[in-house]
């Protein structure tokens, strides 16, 4: 009889692992751990991202750019693509976005009506 560790291996045979492979820790029994880890990792990174992109900004006029920023942050952290929906779903664990009150910055930007003007540089001819 082989050692306990390898005995487990026998069970994994159906996974395509050769019964002859010695002393290798069966991956599938350990794989449930990384999965939990990666979920935690995901959430940690998301919280990290929220320091740069506060959830409250997802309620204002910048919300699409903020969401894009979150997508990019996660993409770089995990080296894979994140869709906007996936990001929003992740956020949903922590925040009820609809309940957040948009901050008053919008009134700063949009509060003052001004006539459009072209920057001076447009009117300077450089031949």
């Amino acid at each position: 009889m082989e050692a306990g560790g390898n005995g487990k291996e026998r069970e994994e045979e159906q996974d395509g692992m050769s019964v002859h492979s010695p002393c290798k820790a069966p991956p599938s029994s350990a794989s449930s751990l990384p999965k939990e880890q990666s979920q935690v990792e995901l959430e940690l990174r998301l919280l990290e991202a929220l320091e740069i992109y506060p959830p409250v900004k997802l309620r204002g006029i910048h919300r699409h750019f903020v969401l894009y920023g979150l997508m990019e942050f996660l993409r770089r952290s995990f080296d894979r693509y994140f869709s906007p929906d996936e990001v929003l779903q992740l956020l949903d664990r922590f925040y009820n976005i609809e309940m957040l009150k948009p901050d008053d910055e919008e009134s700063e930007i949009l509060g003052h009506e001004e006539d459009f003007t072209l920057p001076q540089s447009y009117f300077v001819k450089e031949e």
Partner: protein, 318 residues
């Protein structure tokens, strides 16, 4: 005038101690938009609170576009009224900083500055070391200055589109003409066409582009009446855009292009990572190139010279 510790001059009939009503907050009032010195530059700010401390007025200001962490108490010596004259002052300081930009970045990164062919830069650096010591007193100051240097996204508008903007200016402000509304294609159509174009090219993963385009539409709808119209177009706007109509269904490329002139300002109010900003920049530039490619179909070559208010007659069918 019986309140105990209030020796302030020029205030009349104030309330009980502690809560000074806005009208009695000295030179600046709560909620007032002002200009404030921070470091070597002047920034737009808003007075959040005003308090009299030891016979001096102190104002808690928030710098517009900056994180609330930067909010601070300052005195009247650092405050300016938001007048044209002071705005010019602000721009003058900005220009001055522009010269020092490159040297500034090098220094704060704590690395030796790259060997520059421009000896002037090095000289400026030395000058900065002496006179602008204040800037490096606290790490946060450097951060803010560098932040502002990197913060503004640069949107390079292609030259034929710049010409389009000049023509646009000419037609509306000099020739009293207007863009005939509603436009076809409108902003919505153009953004959709671009997404289709990109999907064909990339084949997949157009969500990023899609999100950015949604952002642009969002900005356009909100910003149009606030900062994208010439004065002469305001009446037309009132007539064309009723309550729940989105401007993006009425206006077209001409006004969309104006948004791109203002985009850096708008984006300055959002904190975005540098790397992400760079990618966005590329995508926005690609969109502009798309506009350029389709310039003849998207943009009007002639505006409407007939004034609706002057009744019929002046059609354009000569």
């Amino acid at each position: 005038m019986g309140s105990s510790s209030k020796d302030d001059s020029g205030s009349d009939g104030e309330a009980s101690s502690g809560d000074a009503p806005p009208s009695n907050s000295g030179l600046f009032s709560e909620g007032e938009r002002v200009l404030a010195y921070h470091g070597p530059r002047i920034y737009e700010a808003k007075v959040q609170r005003a308090e009299l401390r030891k016979k001096e007025w102190r104002y808690f200001v928030h710098y517009l576009g900056w994180n609330k962490n930067w909010d601070e108490w300052i005195g009247t010596d650092r405050l300016l009224k938001h007048t044209e004259e002071n705005v010019l002052k602000q721009q003058a300081l900005e220009k001055k900083q522009g010269v020092d930009k490159s040297s500034k970045l090098g220094r704060s990164a704590q690395t030796k500055p790259k060997v520059s062919t421009d000896a002037k830069v090095d000289k400026e650096e030395q000058k900065n070391n002496v006179t602008k010591g204040k800037k490096r007193k606290s790490g946060s100051d450097i951060e803010k200055d560098n932040f502002s240097v990197e913060k503004l996204v640069k949107i390079q508008i292609p030259s034929t589109l710049k010409k389009q903007l000049l023509d646009d200016w000419e037609y509306v402000t000099q020739q009293d003409k207007l863009v005939k509304l509603p436009r076809s294609p409108n902003v919505d159509d153009i953004l959709t066409k671009y997404l289709e174009y990109r999907s064909k090219k990339d084949g997949m993963m157009t969500d990023s582009v899609g999100e950015i385009l949604k952002g642009i539409r969002c900005y356009f709808d909100k910003a149009l009446p606030v900062m994208l119209l010439y004065k002469k177009e305001r009446q037309q706007y009132q007539d064309a855009v009723k309550n729940d109509t989105s401007p993006s269904t009425i206006y077209g490329a001409e006004h969309l292009l104006r948004l791109f002139v203002k985009l850096p300002e708008l984006l300055a109010y959002v904190n975005i990572e540098e790397e992400t900003l760079t990618r966005m920049q590329q995508k926005l530039l690609d969109f502009l190139k798309f506009l350029q490619k389709n310039q003849s179909t998207f943009f009007l070559s002639a505006y409407d010279g007939s004034k609706v208010s002057e009744g019929k007659g002046k059609g354009k069918d000569d």
